[in-house]
């Protein structure tokens, strides 16, 4: 791809912008329908029908939700910090969307006589960017809870902070073996390295740690302690209403998609797969992850806070470290080309 020292030609820019637009459209739509899918699947798990009133099979429900959220009163608690309060939802949603820029979501296609990678930006430090952006996302939670000036929101955001710091660590550590195997931080390289076999086969432990960590990362049951409606009303977004609440909400679902995509990229060979086109393989894997998240939500209860911290610090992190050492030892024994 074009280096930093090359002036990009207009065609290049147009294609990138088109890709950005396409990704945004797909992600936002998918996120909206993911909400709908979650409600339907949870309903089935509970022997209900779920939303089925708006449009055929309730398919227009996301639209109705959107209209409802947009028309609701945009309320800020009088004692809250107004600016931060309004800023926080955006800080939660935007990093999640931005992360998708580095995810390769299909096999490169040939268009207008050039190879066009199905990826917005193939950075050579893609994995690090993902780690950085996921750290920024927590600011939304922290600031939202703090700016609300409400005890529930503050408690929720504090929990969110502590939880994210702990799980970021195990998540990052679980990715180290991947980098060691692929010998690159570039996500397209990581996908390419799995041509012979998905990393999940070599690194089942790392995959398990990563899976648990991303559940905690996107604050899903059984790790939804920052929200914990049974204890904290709605946790960090207790005081939010209308579309600002909607941003937090949609941010969570974009996060599911992004983290699902990354999990597919790191461990399930990304867009690679037999017979079917890469695009389908990729999105199929993403949706499988999304379904898994929903399924888990419909099954498991919420952990207690100390159990959560215990799991993060005392189980996942040491396991990830051991895993790195084991991988390093194995690589050392196997020589320069283990795969």
């Amino acid at each position: 791809m074009a280096g930093a020292d090359v002036i990009p030609d207009p065609m290049e820019i147009t294609l990138v912008i088109a890709k950005i637009g396409l990704v945004l459209l797909v992600i936002l739509t998918l996120a909206a329908y993911l909400v709908f899918a979650e409600r339907r699947i949870l309903a089935w798990i509970q022997d209900r029908k779920g939303p089925n009133r708006v449009g055929p099979f309730g398919l227009l429900q996301p639209l109705a939700d959107l209209i409802k959220l947009l028309t609701k009163e945009d309320f800020c608690p009088p004692a809250g910090d107004r600016w931060l309060f309004f800023l926080a939802p955006a800080m939660a949603a935007i990093p999640a969307i931005m992360t998708f820029a580095i995810v390769p979501f299909g096999a490169p296609v040939r268009i207008f006589g050039r190879d066009l990678p199905m990826q917005v930006a193939d950075l050579h430090v893609g994995l690090l960017l993902f780690m950085a952006l996921s750290s920024i996302a927590v600011y939304g939670v922290a600031l939202g809870g703090w700016a609300s000036n409400s005890k529930y929101a503050l408690l929720g955001s504090l929990r969110g902070l502590a939880q994210l710091i702990s799980y970021e660590l195990s998540m990052g550590l679980s990715l180290v073996p991947t980098v060691m195997l692929a010998r690159s931080f570039r996500l397209s390289d990581i996908v390419a390295a799995q041509e012979g076999g998905w990393f999940i086969l070599y690194q089942p432990m790392a995959f398990a740690i990563f899976l648990v960590s991303i559940l905690a990362e996107c604050k899903r049951i059984p790790f939804d302690l920052p929200e914990a409606e049974g204890e904290l009303v709605a946790g960090f977004h207790t005081e939010y209403s209308g579309m600002r609440f909607g941003l937090f909400f949609v941010g969570e679902y974009i996060n599911i998609l992004v983290l699902g995509g990354l999990a597919a990229t790191f461990f399930l060979g990304g867009w690679q797969g037999p017979l079917l086109p890469g695009l389908l393989w990729f999105w199929g894997k993403v949706l499988a992850f999304a379904f898994l998240f929903i399924w888990i939500r419909g099954t498991l209860p919420r952990l207690r806070y100390d159990q959560l911290m215990h799991l993060g610090w005392k189980v996942l992190t040491p396991m990830a470290l051991v895993n790195i050492l084991a991988t390093a030892w194995w690589l050392y024994l196997a020589g320069s080309s283990p795969l």
Binding site: A43, W44, Q46, D47, K49, W295, T299
Partner: protein, 176 residues
């Protein structure tokens, strides 16, 4: 091993929920399909009449006393023949929690609950039902019962002619 047990537990849970995904939902599509509740279902409250067609309610205030949300109010008055009746009787269905204590407390079987659960109104004040709205033209669930026939103080029949009563004592009579 504990880890294996825990994993098994989680997987069992996932398997259980998976089975439910495939199961037929129990939801009844309310406005289109309607469930027919059992006759003893506790919904809209009515005031029934005794077999003679008279109002059963004697405004004894027991229902309003039993009501945990204070949604029943009334004023008793003396009707014709010394019969006690409600001058006005009011149930505020916007407060009512349909606990059925009123029907349980009612000594004359006047207040009864019906399976009619569709009592929504656009205006909350329309949920305040007056006696005219509550009073029905039938005996409800106890078609035989007539309080004043058993009460033992006359009113609907001459004294001493109610059910299970001896004729009135003549204090000046000859029999000891």
């Amino acid at each position: 091993m504990r880890v294996i047990d825990d994993m098994t537990a989680i997987l069992t849970g996932l398997w259980t929920t998976w089975k439910h995904i495939l199961r037929r939902p129990v939801t009844i599509q309310y406005p289109e399909e309607k469930r027919i509740p059992s006759p003893r279902y506790r919904a809209r409250i009515i005031l029934t009449r005794d077999p003679d067609g008279g109002e059963r309610c004697v405004a004894c205030y027991l229902c309003s006393a039993a009501c945990p949300v204070d949604c029943i109010s009334m004023q008793a008055e003396e009707g014709e023949g010394g019969r006690r009746r409600a001058a006005w009787f009011r149930i505020n269905f916007s407060r009512c929690i349909f606990c059925g204590f009123c029907a349980e407390a009612c000594p004359t079987m006047a207040i009864q609950m019906t399976p009619d659960y569709e009592i929504c109104r656009r205006d909350v004040m329309d949920l305040v039902f007056e006696k005219e709205d509550l009073l029905v033209e039938h005996c409800g669930k106890d078609p035989e019962y007539n309080f004043y026939r058993h009460a033992g103080i006359g009113v609907t029949q001459p004294r001493g002619e109610g059910e299970g009563e001896k004729p009135t004592v003549d204090v000046r009579g000859l029999m000891p």
